[in-house]
Structure formats: C-alpha cells, structure tokens
C-alpha cells in the first residue's frame, strides 16, 4: 500500500471515529426512550461509508439506506440536525418527520434514505440523469445492502444505469445478513453479485476485508473516469459486518442465528484502531477530543431543541 498523506489519514480517522462514537452514544441514550424512532446502527460497518465518501467531492451526491447514519455523517451531514432528528425534534434534518430511516441533508448533498428496501436505488438514477444533463461531471453514490440485491428493482436499475451511461456509484454493503437470515439462505449463489453486475457491462469491484484505504483507492481511481464520461456506472461490493442487532442498540449473539466466533475476525480487523495506529499519538488525541466535543454538542443540541409544533402535522403534505 502506498504511503497515505497525513491529511487523508487524519480525515479518514476522524470520520470513522465520529460515526462510531456518535452511534455508541445513540446506543447508550436509547434505553432512556429519548430517541423516538427505530435505529439501525452501522457500528462495525463504518469503513464502507467513509472509504467512499472521503473520495467524493462536496458537490457529489450520496444516499444511504435506513441504516444510514454512517453515510450521512461520512458525507458531511449536519451532526446536530441528525441527533435532533433521532430525538424527533423540530431542528432535526427532516424536522422530526422522517426519523432515523429517512435522513436527508440537501445542503451537504446527502439525498434521502428510505425504510423500504431497494426504493432509493432508482431514485439515485433519477438524480444521476439530472447530473448527466448538467454536464459538470458530478456523480451520485447509492448505498444498498446485500438483501437489496435480491429485489427486482436492483436489476432494472443496473440495466437502465448502464444503458444510459449514468454517473452512479452503486455501493453494496454486504454484511451477509438480511435481518437474521444469512445470504446463503436467500441467494442461490451468494458470492456472484459482482459477476452478475458485470453482465450489464458495469465495472464491478469487490473488497473483502473492509480495508478503508482499498475502498478509497478503488474509487479514487475510477472517479476521474466517471467524471470525464469514460465510465458510466460502477459497482462496489464491500464485505463488512454488523456488530449490533439488526434494529436497536443491543448485541444479539445470544439469539442463536450467529456467533461471536463469526464476529471476532471483524473485531480484530476493526479499521478504527488500525487507522488510529497510523497516527501520531498527539494527532489522535486531538481528533478524539474533538469528536467527543461535537458528539456531546449534538446531544445537547437535541436535548434542548423543541418538538415540532402541532401545525407541522399538516405542513409539507403538498409543495
């Protein structure tokens, strides 16, 4: 691996750390019932969102799934507005209307996530159609789970994106499970996703060890080709692992559908301590302290913010 410039190292570490600590705090607060919508945590999966979003320009677009905190944060979404949204507050990124599963921060080009699996995939194509028309070389990254690749809309979308040469980065966060069902019980050939995608003429890349820099490098290499129009859509499959339960703050290794043995290698391979070790101890301390500060601030912001007034029930039904 080529030496990574210090700035990138710091940026990537901060992003990884920020997502982890933010969600750990969400998990800590959760039992207090202050958070008012179901949360699907990305703890353990941070490197995918960070590796991709770190390469994107500020004016590129990115959208995640209902497991969307990581993408929102990695893309630079407003942290206070995110925590306030989880609290169901009027200052939330969707004014308390969408909650954790429907995050959006248009100012930072975070396009909306959705609670219905697969629905955001074609939405990203629509954005890409507009970006292509615009002609400035901007791209959109659309995150999806391994389960989403089973939905017909995924295949319809691959075909259309390839047919129209749309600037879309499909990012599959393959954590091997859909809720409690392992991929082998849902997909005839569980490791054929990239191969299948290639049959649409779409370049497909697979990273099996969640290495944040590998993910970064693949995209850094492909992105200029996308901007110039040489490439249309690309597909990136990243193996990763969900440490917590499917929805909610707890662990569920006692539930019987998976074991801590399966988890362990992913913990050993955790990108956060790995990248931390690449930093000077002082650099790291500075970043950690700053992360604690902004996370604490987001909690305070959320706590202090007001709930939406009754009038909000009927606003924004129609534009």
């Amino acid at each position: 691996m080529p030496a990574i410039d210090p700035q990138t190292l710091r940026r990537v570490y901060r992003s990884l750390r920020l997502i982890r600590r933010f969600e750990e705090e969400v998990a800590r607060i959760y039992p207090a019932d202050k958070i008012k919508s179901p949360v699907h945590l990305s703890i353990g999966q941070e490197s995918v969102a960070v590796g991709v979003c770190d390469v994107l320009a500020a004016d590129d677009l990115a959208g995640g799934t209902y497991r969307g905190h990581a993408v929102y944060i990695a893309k630079g979404g407003d942290l206070n507005a995110l925590m306030a949204e989880l609290y169901g507050k009027d200052t939330g990124c969707t004014r308390g209307k969408g909650g954790s599963m429907h995050l959006m921060d248009i100012k930072h080009n975070v396009i909306g996530s959705s609670a219905v699996v697969g629905t955001t995939i074609p939405i990203a194509l629509g954005y890409a159609l507009a970006l292509k028309r615009e002609g400035k070389g901007r791209v959109v990254a659309s995150f999806l789970g391994d389960g989403a690749t089973e939905e017909g809309v995924f295949h319809e979308s691959l075909n259309f994106a390839a047919l129209k040469h749309l600037p879309v980065i499909f990012v599959c966060e393959n954590n091997f499970y859909a809720i409690h069902t392992p991929i082998a019980r849902r997909q005839a050939i569980p490791d054929a996703i990239c191969e299948r995608v290639k049959t649409y003429g779409i370049p497909a890349y697979r990273v099996t060890d969640a290495d944040v820099f590998k993910i970064r490098d693949i995209l850094a290499d492909a992105l200029p080709k996308m901007r110039s129009g040489e490439y249309g859509p690309i597909f990136l499959e990243c193996h990763t692992y969900r440490w917590r339960e499917h929805v909610g703050p707890a662990n569920d290794y006692d539930a019987g559908y998976r074991s801590t043995d399966e988890l362990q290698p992913w913990v050993d391979n955790d990108q956060i301590p790995r990248v931390a070790a690449m930093l000077e101890p002082d650099e790291r301390r500075v970043i950690d302290a700053d992360v604690e500060k902004v996370v604490a601030a987001s909690i305070e912001f959320a706590e202090k913010s007001p709930f939406p007034p009754p009038s909000e029930l009927m606003t924004h039904v129609y534009a």
């Binding site: 248009i106 909306g112 959705s114 074609p122 939405i123 629509g126 017909g152 809309v153 319809e156």
Partner: protein, 365 residues
C-alpha cells in the same frame, strides 16, 4: 350543449380551434417542453412511430432523444428514476399506455413520490406527472381495462386529475406539469378522438373547482373521465321524459371540490355518481360521503345511486363486456328511478340509446 363550447365556458375564450383530445394533450406537452427545458417525457414506446396512440407525436423530432425517450420494461425502476429526477429539479412526464401497469409502480408512487416532500421535511419536491390511459372496448379484457384512480385518491401527497374533454385535457396537463407535486394524470382511450374547442395559447386548469357542465333541476349526475360524456348522453334520454339532469364534472379528483356537487344536490335532492372504475371505495363513494356529511348536518335528506364497473372482472367477449360498463341507457334509468320511484320501470328507446352510444366514436357531442 357540447363540450366543444367549453372553450368559451371555462377559459372564457371564444377563439380556439376544434381539436381532438389526443392532440390537445400533445399540444400541452409540446408547449411546456418549449417553455421549460426541465420538462422531459419518458415511458415505454413514447418515441416509436405510433407515438402512444399519437399523444407524443412529433416531440422526438422537435426535442430530440434527450428529452423524450423510451425505456426498458421496468416500471418499478423507471418510476423511481422519474421521481429521483423530479427531486433533482427536473420535471418528468412518465407515460403508461395502460393504467393497469401502474400496479408495478405502486411502491414508488405510494411510498416515495407521495411522501418525499413531507418525510424529508420539505427539503425537496416531486414535480412529476404520471400519464396513464384507461383502456376500453373490444376485448381489452381483464388486465387492460381498469380504472384504478381511487387507489391514488386514497394517498395524501398525490394529486389526481381525469379530464373529460380536449379543452380540459390541455389545461389540466399544463397545470399538472407546472404543479410541484406528483400528479396522476388519468386519460381514457375512448376520449382520444373526441373534439372540443381548444384555445391555442397555453392556459392552466388547476384543482379547485368542479364544473357544472349542464344545468338541471331534477337530478344531479356526476361523471368521471369519459363517464361524463356518457352522462351527457343520458341527459338527452332523460330530457325525452321531461326529466332535467344537472351534469357535473369534478375534473380534479384529488384535491376534490365537492362544494359544487353539494350545492347541486341541495337543490335536486337526488345524486347519481358514475365512476369509471369499480364503485367500492371508489371516487363515487367519496363524493357520496361528503355530500352525506354536509347535507346530513343540515338535516337535508337525499337519494343517491352509485354506478360504475360491474363488481366483476372485465371479460373480453362483447356480449358480456357490454354489460360490464355503465352506458347512457343505464345511467338514465338509474336517474329516472330516483326521480320517479313510483313510475313503472322505464327503458329508453333502444334506438335512441344506441344512437347516443354510437356517438362516442364521432364527437363532438
């Protein structure tokens, strides 16, 4: 009266040319594409030589393949793509040759298009028009004949419009394209050849007001899409009996103006609503309920009869297909029964009825 005259009535415009419904639709889209570069048309077969029964004719030649293009067979993803493009600031018109196929688009329409503006806190809008055609006649059969607009009326966040004539088709289409919300634009195959006076310059017919198409004192007939035309014919049959029917066209089904209908029923005390789909939980049920809520609170009783598709599946065989649909004779009979409950069962003269029914393919009525 004839919907040819609508050029005057509605837009207060005495000019205009006699145009077919299909040409009025095409003209509206053409004018808006010329005015607004964000507008584009997508959908299966919109750019082939048949141009979706002529409704997109010439647009490819004029605006090129970037702004009007066919798609793969992929209703779900194509609907999502149209929605995403709308969120991104474009103004897509997504076209379906049959309304039945919208069942493949329900997830995107109900769970995304209708909710995006609200659930994203107003951050984005979905200025989308979804055109679909209700098929009828001649063996269209179970899956090419459904009028499913009531499903969309159910969903807050969607708007629904079903113009009954060429004049309204143009005004409603222009209003729909300029609307910042997803609009389900419901067309009817049998209306395509019908003619009306249509002003040349652009004009919009936005939601807000149902139209009293013809005055009458004995019974109020509300007809949806081409059932409005059938009601006009039924009115002629009733006139022979000395029964005068007031004909009302809701035009926009969501948001829905029922004040105009309530006002009419307050006068006639009799209501027949003719749906262009099944009556159960249909537009007629909504209209009837709103009238009942208002007049009930005023202590005013009224008689009502809903008509629509027979509660069965649309067969292909003509002998039974004919029985599937309301027609002028059946509408007139239902109205007559309300007006003269004690009178012996009346049947309009078959020749008159047939004649009225034949008219359908000619127009102007």
């Amino acid at each position: 009266m004839s919907t040819r005259d609508l050029g005057q009535d509605a837009a207060g415009n005495t000019g205009g040319r006699v145009l077919r419904y299909v040409d009025a639709l095409r003209e509206a889209v053409d004018q808006e594409m010329a005015r607004d570069p964000r507008v584009f048309v997508m959908g299966l077969d919109v750019d082939d030589h048949k141009a979706l029964q002529g409704s997109t004719k010439g647009l490819l030649q004029k605006y090129g393949p970037e702004r009007i293009f066919t798609t793969p067979l992929a209703e779900d993803a194509m609907t999502g793509t149209a929605i995403g493009a709308a969120m991104a600031g474009m103004r897509p018109i997504h076209v379906h040759i049959r309304m039945d196929f919208l069942m493949l688009s329900m997830n995107q329409l109900v769970n995304m298009a209708a909710k995006a503006h609200y659930m994203y806190g107003g951050a984005i809008k979905v200025p989308l028009v979804v055109r679909s055609i209700i098929g009828k006649s001649w063996g269209q059969g179970p899956q090419h004949s459904q009028g499913l607009y009531a499903m969309f009326m159910q969903i807050p966040g969607l708007k629904v419009v079903a113009p009954s004539n060429a004049h309204d088709a143009k005004g409603c289409m222009l209003a729909a394209i300029r609307d910042d919300n997803p609009v389900m634009f419901v067309e009817h195959r049998l209306l395509y050849p019908t003619e009306a006076y249509v002003p040349e310059e652009p004009y919009t017919l936005p939601p807000g007001k149902s139209r009293v198409v013809m005055p009458g004192g004995d019974v109020t007939l509300v007809g949806i899409s081409n059932m409005l035309v059938e009601c006009l014919r039924a009115r002629e049959l009733l006139a022979d009996e000395g029964v005068t029917a007031e004909i009302i066209d809701p035009i926009w089904l969501s948001p829905l103006d029922t004040d105009t209908i309530v006002k009419s029923v307050r006068k006639t005390r009799r209501l027949v609503v003719v749906d262009n789909g099944w009556t159960m939980c249909g537009a007629g049920a909504e209209i009837t309920s709103r009238v009942a809520e208002v007049l009930g609170s005023e202590g005013i009783g009224f008689q009502v009869q809903r008509l629509g598709f027979a509660p069965t599946i649309c067969p292909t065989s003509p002998t039974i297909e004919d029985l599937f649909y309301p027609n002028p004779a059946r509408i007139a009979q239902a109205a007559h029964r309300l007006v003269r409950p004690k009178a012996p069962e009346w049947k309009p003269d078959p020749d008159r009825a047939v004649l009225a029914y034949q008219k359908q393919f000619r127009g102007p009525f």
